[in-house]
């Protein structure tokens, strides 16, 4: 009966393992790449954080912390685990939008990102997606380019 609980606890350790790897790489790269005076405080912070993380992992593994995945520390709500596919799609849309901004600039990629996100990720009608994308892009253009006189990034391909 206790096997599923243990499996759940092991899964909940995964983020901690990723953080563990990050901290260890931070300490190792700092130790070998930085000179003694500049690495003192970063390594101190890294080692203390590593100790705290190991304590947390031990608590999660052997304590009552294995079922925390659905808790939310800030805001008091509950995060219901969504399908991994939808999460990945949402993150990919943001990544795509940012990649678009980097390549072709704000003025082209913002309307495209808005339209695609609202129509496909948000399952809204094409008409609504088009209207929101155009109105929001126009307002962004008027506020930043016209009113505030910023030159919005044209993208590496056009700059």
């Amino acid at each position: 009966m206790s096997r599923p609980v243990k499996d759940k606890q092991t899964i909940s350790l995964l983020p901690s393992i990723v953080i563990f790897a990050f901290i260890v790489s931070y300490i190792v790269s700092g130790y070998f790449m930085l000179d003694e005076s500049t690495r003192l405080v970063p390594l101190l912070a890294g080692i203390v954080t590593l100790v705290l993380l190991i304590l947390d992992m031990l608590m999660t593994r052997f304590g009552a912390g294995g079922d925390r995945e659905t808790e939310q520390a800030e805001g008091g709500g509950v995060i219901v685990p969504e399908s991994r596919g939808r999460e990945l799609t949402a993150i990919l849309f943001v990544a795509g939008g940012v990649a678009g901004i980097y390549l072709v600039g704000f003025l082209i990629s913002i309307p495209l990102y808005l339209f695609a996100s609202i129509a496909y990720l948000g399952n809204q009608s094409t008409k609504i997606a088009l209207i929101v994308a155009l109105v929001a892009s126009l307002l962004i253009y008027l506020l930043f380019e016209v009113a505030l006189d910023y030159q919005l990034f044209p993208g590496v391909l056009f700059s």
Binding site: T38, A90, L121
Partner: protein
């Protein structure tokens, strides 16, 4: 002093000056609402424009911006969980859950009352403290700066996480990230891996926008629905209950204002730390601390009082020593110097009327911004009724443009997105985001304070208990840790033992 105040009031209330004050308030509200912009950007844009202005007009506009930024930043923090400014991030913790429960108007009403009250408290304190300003600022040397930074990280880690260890781990990671870039103490660069962009470290505003705004919007786009969980429950006319709640919790207002004024006066620590410490102190002092984060009105009142009070506190070192208490004050320092006013003790003798004019402008702008906020609360709260699938991409797009506008650096856009995804994963796997941010802000102060203290004390750690101020800070840190660690360990081991008993 009364003569000077009346003289300054007469100057400020002239129609010409009032127009500049009103313009400043509007600019402040707009820049505050848009995540990524904020007071520093608004003042930086204003700086060249003030060149041809009369000093009184320039100060009225600057005061208008500084007073209204807090209100604007908190509106987006409550409605979208995307703090318009750094100090408004603490308002997200209880403000956004209130918006989700359909009580956005209550929350905005509380902000509109707590902000000017905090501002008023800060101004009164500033007027009283100005004569002894120098002595107060000099109480803080490198060891005290280090200890204030540690205290800030510890209190936020404790208050923001159900699991103290995870809060401290997040704080530790924030500290580690704060060391990326140029080492201001010893020279040389750290952890940049050849990237020029990282030389200045991990910039704060893109990090804040990513961790709070974008992470929340990614979640909203995944879950769908509206910000307010049930559109039918949204109360658009609850603003007066928020006002009444603030007046009822007057002790929270005073506590937040005192913390805001004190922390604001410490150069380099800044408003974000002040609002988080005000929040965590109020949470700890409450009979039911666990209910914070679920939409407690006190969780809005405390940081909002501190948010406006900190401006007056930050004016102290800026005017008295030319040491800006925050980035916003650093830009304001530029406005002062552009108008031929040299900061230092002499400024109070040479430009008394203008200084009092500025202080009054700060107060009046906070009141004016609150009035505008209350007037438009129905329309503002309606944002929570927009479908998440539509709202989330629009907010993400505006945030990315806002982040780019700070330094006109595309790297900031990429960083905000990366940190946004990180923020979502932290939210998903129950790692608190607040300690990471606070440590990112305080990392440099902590390191500089630590290294300078070690140099002064020849490596002797007793330097950290050499003064009454530092002893008080050390005691506060240990009390905070033991207050939270002991019950947590007791609970964990009790649960562990109970789990082993068949």
């Amino acid at each position: 002093m009364l003569d000077l105040l009346l003289q300054a009031a007469a100057g400020l209330l002239s129609p010409g000056t009032l127009i500049f004050l009103f313009a400043g308030v509007l600019v402040g509200l707009v820049f505050g609402v848009i995540p990524g912009l904020g007071g520093t950007t608004a003042l930086a844009l204003l700086l060249p424009l003030t060149y041809g202005m009369e000093v009184t007009h320039a100060f009225a506009m600057a005061g208008g911006i500084m007073g209204a930024i807090a209100m604007g930043g908190s509106i987006s923090a409550i409605l979208l969980n995307a703090p318009g400014t750094g100090p408004s991030a603490a308002t997200c913790i209880d403000g956004h859950p209130l918006a989700k429960q359909g009580r956005a108007a209550d929350a905005i009403g509380a902000v509109a009352t707590a902000s000017p009250l905090g501002g008023l408290f800060g101004v009164l304190t500033l007027l009283l403290v100005l004569p002894v300003a120098r002595d107060i600022v000099l109480l803080f040397g490198p060891p005290e700066f280090f200890l204030v930074a540690v205290f800030g990280i510890v209190t936020v880690a404790i208050s923001s996480a159900k699991n103290l260890l995870r809060g401290l781990v997040a704080g530790g990671i924030g500290l580690m990230l704060s060391f990326v870039g140029y080492d201001t103490v010893h020279g040389g660069v750290r952890y940049t891996f050849g990237s020029d962009y990282l030389w200045d470290g991990i910039p704060l505003i893109p990090s804040l926008v990513g961790l709070f705004g974008m992470a929340e919007m990614i979640r909203l786009s995944i879950e769908g629905g509206t910000v307010a969980a049930d559109a039918k429950t949204v109360k658009l006319d609850g603003v007066w209950s928020g006002v009444r709640a603030t007046l009822r919790h007057w002790k929270v207002v005073i506590r937040g204002s005192i913390i805001g004024t004190l922390i604001g006066a410490i150069p380099g620590v800044g408003g974000t730390v002040a609002t988080f410490i005000a929040y965590s102190t109020t949470k700890k002092a409450d009979r039911d601390p666990d209910s914070f984060g679920t939409g407690r009105i006190e969780g809005i009142i405390a940081p909002e009082s501190a948010n406006n009070a900190k401006d007056s506190g930050a004016l102290l070192p800026t005017l008295a020593f030319g040491i800006p208490g925050s980035a916003e004050m650093a830009v304001f320092l530029g406005i002062l110097m552009l108008h031929g006013m040299q900061p230092g003790p002499a400024i109070f003798a040479d430009h008394q009327d203008k200084i009092y004019g500025l202080i009054l402008a700060l107060t009046l702008s906070a009141v004016l911004a609150s009035f505008i906020g209350i007037t438009f609360v129905r329309w503002l709260a309606a944002i929570t009724l927009i479908k998440g699938q539509i709202l989330a991409p629009v907010v993400i797009a505006v945030s990315l443009v806002g982040v780019y506008a700070i330094n006109l650096t595309p790297g900031d856009v990429v960083l905000a997105a990366v940190i946004g995804v990180l923020g979502y994963l932290m939210l998903r796997f129950d790692y608190p985001r607040l300690p990471l941010v606070i440590a990112l802000i305080l990392g440099e102060t902590a390191e500089r304070g630590f290294q300078q203290s070690m140099m002064i004390g020849n490596g002797d750690l007793s330097i950290f208990v050499h003064s009454v101020t530092s002893i008080i800070l050390v005691v506060l840190i240990f009390l905070s840790l033991s207050w939270s660690f002991v019950p947590m360990l007791r609970k964990k081991f009790a649960a562990s033992i109970a789990g082993e008993v068949p």
